[in-house]
């Protein structure tokens, strides 16, 4: 029997991948779900010629510039190396809420439960919270 995740991170951008890497490093069984591809939202490369061919670290050492896209992938690799599961194409259609608690996430193919759900969905954070009745839009 394989145990479910202890933490689910929603969002495969910079913040989601960095969170998954840190959670996995801390020993949590971590699942990251991203509805499209890693770094496809706000962490997408604005300039496709930015830092190509170099890793995030190498690029930063030489130029003090960091390519958000490469940095996202570096965090995702780190998360995987530390045992996290990173799933792309897995869209969260809703948070599983029971009373005053969030129990997990509803994916298209079924529910996944965890002790903690981390929403790192960038601009799509508010709609997710709204869907769970936790946020009524900007004041």
């Amino acid at each position: 029997m394989s145990a479910g995740p202890e933490a689910i991170v929603i969002g495969g951008g910079l913040l989601g991948c960095a969170s998954a890497a840190a959670l996995a490093e801390g020993g949590a069984r971590t699942l990251l779900v991203e509805r499209e591809d890693l770094a496809s939202g706000s962490s997408a490369p604005p300039n496709p010629r930015w830092g190509r061919r170099s890793s995030a670290g190498r690029s930063a050492r030489r130029t003090f510039q960091v390519d958000p896209w490469q940095l996202t992938f570096a965090f995702a690799r780190l998360a995987r190396r530390r045992g996290a599961t990173v799933r792309c194409g897995a869209e969260v259609v809703g948070l599983l809420r029971e009373g005053e608690g969030i129990l997990g996430v509803r994916l298209r193919e079924g529910n996944v439960y965890a002790g903690a759900v981390v929403v790192a969905a960038g601009a799509w954070t508010a709609p997710l919270l709204e869907g769970a009745g936790l946020w009524a839009g900007a004041a």
Partner: protein, 155 residues
């Protein structure tokens, strides 16, 4: 290749403090390819992922004023991006108040790259050690809620 430098107008620092109004503040930097990257504009655009003509024009004027030599170059492209922000210039990190099991890490605006590693650490400390990030980062401040207790975390 030579040394590279960043030119940052004081207005850019101010624009990082948040706010809802449209802001144009010059930042100029050379990429590894030798292109010059000019920024930055911020404007409340909702989900519209595009630069307004007014912002691009203002940016061009600011560039001409401060870096006249750049105006001899050809503009290759402009690109927009969504910068999810909270309105007070700080991200939201922490347990969602009144709801156990939910942590939010979002609203970093243009600072996601710089703050990503530390945000990951804070998220992990929040979840694994049930610690609370500093009050100015917690979501409570945006909900107008009283300083609520930290809900129990994972496990």
């Amino acid at each position: 290749m030579g040394g590279r430098s960043l030119i940052l107008s004081a207005g850019y620092v101010r624009s990082r403090q948040g706010g809802d109004e449209r802001q144009v503040a010059l930042v100029a930097e050379q990429t590894a390819d030798g292109n010059i990257l000019l920024g930055g504009t911020r404007e409340p655009a909702g989900w519209a992922n595009r630069n307004s003509a007014a912002s691009l024009r203002e940016l061009a004027l600011a560039t001409r004023r401060l870096l006249p030599a750049v105006t001899r170059l050809h503009a290759i492209r402009s690109f927009p991006g969504l910068g999810p922000c909270t309105g007070d210039g700080l991200p939201i990190i922490g347990w969602w108040p009144g709801c156990s099991g939910l942590v939010v890490a979002a609203g970093h605006d243009g600072d996601g790259v710089c703050l990503s590693a530390r945000t990951g650490q804070v998220v992990a400390e929040t979840v694994l050690k049930d610690s609370a990030p500093s009050p100015e980062l917690r979501p409570e401040r945006l909900l107008g809620a009283e300083a609520s207790q930290v809900p129990p975390g994972a496990g």
